[in-house]
Each structure stands twice: as C-alpha cells, then as structure tokens.
Amino acid sequence: MFGLNTKDTTLLLIVAMLTMFAPFILNPFPADSAMAQFNAGYPDLMQRFVIFGIFAIGFNILFGLTGYLSFGHAAFLGVGSYSAVWMMKLLTMNVIPAIALSVIVAGLFSVVIGYVSLRRSGIYFSILTLAFAQMSFNLAYSVLTPITNGETGLQISLSDPRILDGAGAARYPNLFGAEMNDATTLFLGGWSFTFSVGYYVCAVIMLLCFYLSVRIFRSPFGMMLRAVKSNQQRMNYTGLNTKPYTLAAFVISGMYAGLAGGLLAAMDPLAGAERMQWTASGEVVLMTILGGAGTLIGPVLGAGFIKYFENIFSKINDSVLHSWFSFMPDGIEDLMVTLVHPFVGKGWSLTLGIMFMLVVTFLPGGLVEGGQRIGRLLRRKPAKDDSASGKTEPAE
C-alpha cells in the first residue's frame, strides 16, 4: 500500500496506530492513583513527542543515511520558530502560512550552511555546523534583538497587525478556526484521556513526514546516500559527484527541522533563542543515537524517551518521594529519599545520562536493537539481522 512493501506498510500502520491512540497509550494509570505521576498523555507533552519525532526523523535522513554528523540542527529549528511566529504576528493566526514559511526559510538557511559545511566531512563538518549554529544563537540572542526579542523571546501580542485576520478572527493559533489548544476530555472510570486539536494536527503531519522518510530510505536516492556513508571516496573514484546528494540530504533534514520549529511555534506561539543553543543541537543527536541511528522508527522512539524524562522525571520532587516511601519506617524513608533524590527532579539529566551510557554500551543500535533482541528471544530464532530497518551500525 502507498507504494511501500509489506514490511514498511506494517511499520507505517503501527506508527499510525500508536500516534492516533497516543492519548490512551500514554495514560495507562488512573488519574487519581499514585502512578498518575508517570502519565504522559497530556497535550503539551504529546505534541512535543511528535514534533521532536519529526525533528529526529529529519536528522536521521542526514546522519543515519549519509553518516554526516551535524551538530547544528537546532539552528534550523530556531529559524523555523522565528519565521512561524513572525507569520502569526504579521499575517494571520492560521498555522498554515506559519508552517509553510518556517519550512521554506529553514530550507534556504540550510542551503547556505550546507553548501559551506559540506566542503568538509567527518569531525570538520561537525565543527563547522556547530559553529554556524552557535553564530545563529548569538545573533538571535544579542544582535538581532529587534527581530528576535533576545532572551525574552518573541511573542504575539494584541497589537500585532495580522493583516489577513478580520476583527472577529481567533486570537490563538488555529487551523481554519479550529484552535490548537482546544481539547476534549473523555472520562472512563478512573481514567481520563485528553484529545487535543493541536496534537492531532502534529500527529498527521508527523505521519506524512514519516511516510516521506520511508520513501526516501527505500528510493535510489536513499541508496546513494547510504553509499556515501559506506565509502564516499570510492564513489568519487567511479566518477560520481556526491556533493549534490549530500547537500540534498542536508537541506531535506534542515527543512524537517524547520517544520518541527514551525510546529512548536504553532502549538505555543513563542520563539526563544535557547532553541538554537548547542545543547538543543546535541539533544537531537542523542535522540537519534538513543533510538537507533539509520533505522526508521528509532529516532521517534529516542525523541519520546528523552522528552519523557525531561518532563516527567523533572517533576518528581521531594514531597512526591516522601509519599512513595511513606510506608517505610521514618529513618529508612529519609534514607531512601536521600538516595533517590539526586536522580529525579532537577537531577533528571543525570538519570538520562546513565540510561544513554547503558544503551550506547550494551545496545549500540539503540532502542531498536533492544526491541529486536527481545523479539528474537521471544521467537527463539537464531540471530539474523534482517529487520525492516536495515543493518544497524554504530555512529561514525
């Protein structure tokens, strides 16, 4: 179906099911139970899951296929956000022009950065992209403040012109009148499931992006990109010019990042310079490697994993810990809280770091490899690497 083979169709359908039923899947615990702390099925986080999924899918087209490790992808995310917010300030609160412009601007931006950076490969390429991203960050932070509003971040306000919107138009980001933060909640017994417009808009776009990335992976173009990864020199010797291919991959992944940035702004009309900081660029690298670089579904899983830690673990404070261990005698309770404390709340990144270390050490193919191993154990088949996602290789 859709020009895909059976295996890819199954994968696409699984991803479609997962995204469409995410409000159920991510809220497995009743709202009143102590475990509700671990529910992730609220609109903002679900939106982040799919938006950063898009970001990581795009990054994977560059890194997973060509092996070029860009350390500056956050620049495109930030540029996308700024263009989207400006669109909403000047034209209309409808998200379509905002998202369209964010993709276009990020595309143009990536042509420029890609053209220069791709003159080098390996570590030099990474450093060049990092330098460009850091330059963009500093420009946004302190030089171009009339456009970016610096550290404060660019926001919409009542006095913006919005020339396409009439007097009675929606005041918040919307898709032809359906406001992004509209939501409806379904109560089933002790459970509550929230369905929001914004999430489903993002989810549909994410599915389209995922489909496009499957098509790219399976196309002759994708094959060419893989060839670049395995031996670029040999390709050059056979008389092929690889630059157009790598540049195309760079621009495509830059546009994915711009789309993600535009969506972020469409869900929450604010663009801040910190979106372009090198930590944000590093985050998408972590997402891709954690999930499994070069695999189709890996980056999405990695994005979900990291965003889950950032938003759920960081909210566990000492009083929550005390309520968990309250069944223990006082001394032991305090001891347990002291022991767990460094790993939750503001220490969430420590936990994430440990998980990342473990995954990279024991599962070089990321979470996808973990899934494959479990699958093989269950089926009791001899190890044979024939997964839908192709051979998993550690990062270059």
Binding site: M1, D44, E151, G153, P220
Partner: protein, 454 residues
C-alpha cells in the same frame, strides 16, 4: 523515487485516510465549552509553583518554593497562620480555599522561557493547576503570563522586576505584587544624589533581556534627570558567569559610577569581578569610584560576601522592616517568625512576594466566591489591603501592579551575622514611586479581556 502506481483502490484508501485526518480537528473543536479551565471538582484545588531550580536564579527559586510551601500550609490551617493573622482581609479561614484543601505541584523553569512554558503547560494540562505562580526572571514571567492568558488561568507573578511585566506585556490574567524597575529608580535617585552628588558619569552593565533593558532605561532616566551623565551601556548575556571582559573597559572609560543591572548569580559574579579589578579603590575625576546595584537581595548579599559592603540598592521588602520602621509594616514579623521556625533562617524578598501572592490569590477567590479567573481578577483589581508586610498596598486595576513603599538599602559595613548583611537606608513612600499607567516606559500594551479558558 520509485514509480507511482495509481490504482483506484489506492487512491480511495489514501483519500479516506487523509480525509479522516483532516476532519478530526473539526470534530475535536466541537467540544463543549463550559465554565472555565481546570474548575476544581473534588475537595481539593491545585496550584502550580513554577520556579527556577537550576540556572543563575536558582537560589531565589529555592527560597520561593519554601515560601509557597509555607503559604499552602497556612492556607490549609497548619502552622501558626503567619500573615493570615495580620492580613487586613479576613475572608480566609484556614480551611483551604473555599473549603477545598490546597495541593500544589512544582516545576523547574531553568530560567528559560521555553522550559518555563513547557513546565507551566504540564501543570495546567496534566495536573489541573488553577493558578500558576513563581518565576525569578522577567523574561520567564512575561512568557508564562502570556501562556496563562491563553490557557485561561490566573498568573500571580513572583519575582519579576521588569517594567514590561505590567507595562507593554501586561495581561488581564496576570498580577504582580513585586515592585518594578521604574519604582527602584524613583526611590534610588534621591538617595544617590545625597550620597554621591549630582555630577557623576555612570557606566551600565546590563543583563540582556527585558528586565535589564527596562531597569537600565529607568535608572538612566532617573539619574540623568538629576544631572548625571551616562557614559555607556553594555549588554551582557544572562548565561554569562565571568564578567572580567566587561569590567576591564570600565577602568579607562572616564566613568566614576558603575551600575550593575544584574540579578542573582549574575550580580554575585559581576560584583566580585568589579571588586577584584580594584574599582572600589579607584579615584576618577577626583571622586571615589562607586558601584550601584539597583536591585538586590539578602541572598545575593550572602553570595557576594565582603564585596557587598556599602553598595546601595533597592528592595521590595526586608525581614527587619517591622522591627526598624514600625507597625506600618505589620505582618513582617509574623511571616519571619513562621518562616524562621520552619526553615531556620529569615526569608528573602523573593519568598515574601511569593507568599503574599499566594495569600492574595486565595483571598481573592474567597471574596469572589468562585475560582473563575474572571471573578478572581475582578476581586484583585483595585483591591486595597494591608498587613502583608509592605504597609498599605493597592492592586491597581489599570495594569494589575501593586503600589507600596520601596526600600533603599545598603550593604552593612560591619554585619553582626550572615542575616544582617543588608541595612535599610530609608523607605520611600508609595506616592513617590507611583506613575501614570500611560507613562512612556509602560505604554504600548493592553490588558485585553480576561480569559476563563474552555
């Protein structure tokens, strides 16, 4: 790309899926709009406390959180009641808010607008918070205030000193108890004139975001009005930790006053750098070189140690206020008493403003008889109160800014202990720092209409 094989079935299937995808948002938007966002249904009500737990303002954030916990304890009838006993409004009975027990959730703003909004959103969407408070950075406060306006919950700003919070970025759902940069400048200028004369050349180092910009603007305007000149204004990144490269050019600039528009960890570092460079021992234009920090707190004084001695600045509140300035500031001692009993040291101004904001919110709900943000907003706007430690105070309806006395303080020359690092120079009465809502430094924004959400 591989060849496209269009079949009738394929086209129909694709069309059906795409159609369903596009139709879904329309279906969802038909959701019933009733009442207001997060209307409390059970016997509890949830407040969201969003403070920086990491980054340059982490110390302030930690103290804010302590104050919030104390306020919740007092609202629920625990502890000794703190300022509930001195508060001029008696609508609160110590049985929670309107009989509902107060619960709270906390989040880390990381002093970044993006992270702060994510954290506030999760409180509103996941935990059902009906009010968001906190924030130790004006950039964050402005961002979160905008979010609360969109989401339809009340935002009770914590530590935010930028003019913009209740100036061009003011929102109908946002309220600020803390004072602002204009008030600091208005209170400081006469004192600076007395101390350092009216013929000074100032050099500004300014944190590069909304608070720094407006504070620099306010101080420059107030000092120039009394005859000072401004040599230069250099913007520094909020994330900076070393200011040596910014301090060095001050030495030969001809300036004889350095104004540090820095707060929290920024100020501790920049002041330390400035002192290390020997600025305070210098003579320029035949005058002693002076350093002014327009806004600082006990917490920062502690961080800066010896360097804070003799440095002039302004504060919203100080724990010694009632002892030194009398009964007008009733409530101060009650709060210091219960805070000290619980945590073992006196509260900072950040703690006091957050504690007061929580009480003011609860009281407004009780007086309005509803959690509806519009009703609460109406109860707060134009509200006059006393007994929360700042003396008689007005919550002005035009911009949702509190007007009250401002303290001018100085780093103690010979502090008796680590809690007395700051001494009160004088208290500037509220009338002297009051301004017109349409003052140029505040113009350009509009409250808009209150938004109760879905």
């Amino acid at each position: 790309m591989s060849k496209m094989n269009l079949t009738r079935r394929g086209v129909l299937q694709t069309g059906a899926v795409a159609g369903a995808g596009l139709a879904l948002p329309t279906y969802l938007s038909a959701a019933a709009h009733s009442g207001f966002t997060n209307a409390p249904t059970g016997d509890t009500v949830t407040l969201g406390f969003n403070v920086p737990q990491t980054g340059p303002y982490a110390d302030e954030g930690a103290d804010e959180l302590r104050a919030f916990e104390l306020a919740v304890e007092h609202l629920n009838g625990g502890g000794d009641g703190g300022m509930l006993n001195t508060f001029s409004s008696k609508a609160l009975e110590g049985n929670g808010i309107m009989g509902k027990k107060v619960q709270y959730v906390t989040g880390d703003t990381q002093t970044k607008s993006d992270a702060a909004r994510a954290s506030a959103k999760s409180m509103i969407e996941k935990d059902g918070a009906i009010m968001i408070s906190g924030g130790s950075s004006s950039g964050v406060a402005v961002a979160v205030q905008g979010l609360c306006q969109e989401a339809g919950v009340i935002f009770m700003a914590g530590l935010t000193h930028s003019n913009d919070t209740t100036g061009k970025d003011k929102k109908a759902n946002g309220f600020r108890h803390f004072f602002n940069a204009y008030m600091s400048a208005a209170a400081l200028a006469p004192v600076l004139k007395n101390l350092y004369g009216d013929d000074r050349a100032a050099y500004h180092l300014t944190a590069d975001y909304t608070w720094g910009w407006t504070q620099q603007e306010s101080i420059q305007a107030a000092t120039e009005a009394m005859g000072w000149s401004t040599i230069n204004d250099v913007r520094t990144p909020l994330a900076a930790t070393d200011f040596s490269s910014y301090i060095a050019p001050v030495l030969n600039s001809g300036a004889d006053v350095l104004v540090l528009n820095h707060y929290g960890g920024n100020m501790v570092n920049s002041l330390t750098n400035a002192v290390q460079f020997g600025l305070r021992d210098k003579q320029v234009n035949g005058k002693n070189f002076e350093i002014v920090v327009p806004l600082y707190s006990e917490l920062m004084a502690k961080g800066a140690g010896q360097n804070i001695k003799g440095i002039v600045g302004s504060q919203n509140w100080d724990w010694k206020l009632e002892n030194q300035m009398g009964d007008r500031y009733a409530g101060t001692n009650a709060f210091v008493q219960s805070f000290g009993t619980k945590y073992g040291f006196p509260p900072s101004q950040a703690a006091q403003t957050c504690y007061a904001q929580t009480l003011l919110y609860a009281d407004a709900v009780a007086r309005a008889g509803s959690f509806n943000p519009c009703a609460v907003g109406e109860a707060l706007a134009g509200f006059e109160f006393d007994g929360l430690g700042n003396g008689p105070t007005l919550y002005r309806a035009d911009d949702h800014q509190c007007f009250k006395d401002v303290l001018v303080v100085r780093g103690a020359e010979d502090p008796s202990d680590e809690f007395n690092l700051v001494e009160i120079v004088e208290v500037t009465p509220a009338e002297q720092v009051t301004y017109d809502p349409e003052h140029p430094m505040f113009a350009g924004g509009a409250l808009g209409e209150c938004n109760p959400g879905a």
